[in-house]
């Protein structure tokens, strides 16, 4: 147990995490590509036409996974921010920062694909209902985090300010998730639920879950790739970085 504990903190040092992340990101990148291709094949060539929404429903295979990732990544940022405040490890703030752009991207994609789905099905690109509005707030939280951390020159202070925003903003995530239950929204309720299972056809569900796993692997790959960049910039004056780059 004592050994186990020491090992975890050892990886928390940028110097030892840098080569580990370098070995791991290509692995997650390949997994993401393979899963995405499988999901696209299932989604476009196996999954049947929806009896209500015709072929338009196929947007679901990117819309739902992107929306899930937008929330999961924000929670991951809050988790790293919490670790940063608790243990004061340098890597935590770097991980929070490495995740933010990918999270912002998935939030934008959730809103974008939602608009393109809403127009033909509801007749509107956008409505101010609880689900859509809280997701838009999530997008502003990501943008706020990125703007705040890049406006503060001292990286440690940027980590603390950003970490606080990540932690406080995390309150919004359950609001997004439960908004369709708490309020009378135009947005439909969940098609997949932990308690009730799924109301979708098997192949549709598989295509969606595979794409969700692909996005998950992609996000991990991107975060690991980006954290190496952040480590290099922040530690560029140290001996070990000079040796790595030489």
């Amino acid at each position: 147990m004592e050994n186990f504990k020491i090992r975890w903190f050892q990886w928390a040092a940028p110097q030892s995490f840098y080569p580990l992340a370098g070995r791991l990101w290509p692995f997650f990148g390949v997994i993401a590509a393979v899963l995405a291709l499988a999901a696209l094949y299932l989604g476009f060539f196996v999954a049947p036409t929806d009896f209500q929404q015709g072929e338009g429903y196929r947007i679901i295979f990117v819309h739902v996974p992107a929306s899930w990732m937008s929330m999961v990544i924000y929670l991951a940022m809050a988790f790293w921010a919490f670790l940063g405040f608790t243990f004061n490890t340098r890597l935590s703030g770097m991980m929070t920062q490495a995740l933010a752009p990918t999270g912002a991207m998935f939030t934008f994609l959730s809103l974008w694909t939602g608009a393109l789905w809403g127009k033909p099905m509801w007749g509107a690109w956008w409505v101010w209902d609880a689900r859509l509005t809280s997701e838009l707030i999530l997008f502003f939280l990501y943008m706020g985090y990125i703007a705040l951390t890049s406006a503060i020159d001292d990286p440690r202070r940027a980590d603390r300010a950003g970490g606080l925003l990540a932690l406080v903003g995390a309150v919004n995530v359950p609001i997004i998730y439960f908004s369709v239950k708490w309020w009378n929204t135009l947005h439909q309720g969940a098609s997949v639920s932990v308690t009730k299972g799924s109301s979708m056809a098997q192949t549709m569900l598989w295509a969606m879950l595979l794409m969700a796993l692909a996005f998950w692997a992609y996000s991990i790959a991107m975060a690991l790739y980006r954290v190496r960049t952040i480590i290099l910039v922040r530690e560029r004056h140290t001996q070990w970085v000079q040796e790595v780059a030489a």
Binding site: E55, I59, V62, L109, T113, L116, Y218, V233, Q242
Partner: protein
């Protein structure tokens, strides 16, 4: 094959612009993110090299 032809596939039962507008932008965003992350990494390596040259310069008598 669930599609009668490639034309039918691209038409998506009349939802073509919405479906391909979604997938196209997803692909575009991922391409932009990967490109910018690679560029940022290249720039970070350059910034390390710049520090290296500075220190090399300082130590030369």
């Amino acid at each position: 094959m669930i599609w009668e032809s490639w034309d039918a596939f691209w038409a998506m039962g009349g939802y073509g612009p919405y479906v391909w507008g979604s997938y196209g932008v997803v692909l575009l965003c991922i391409a932009i993110e990967i490109t910018s992350a690679r560029a940022a990494h290249g720039a970070s390596v350059q910034s390390v090299r710049a520090v290296q040259e500075e220190t090399d310069h300082d130590t030369t008598p």
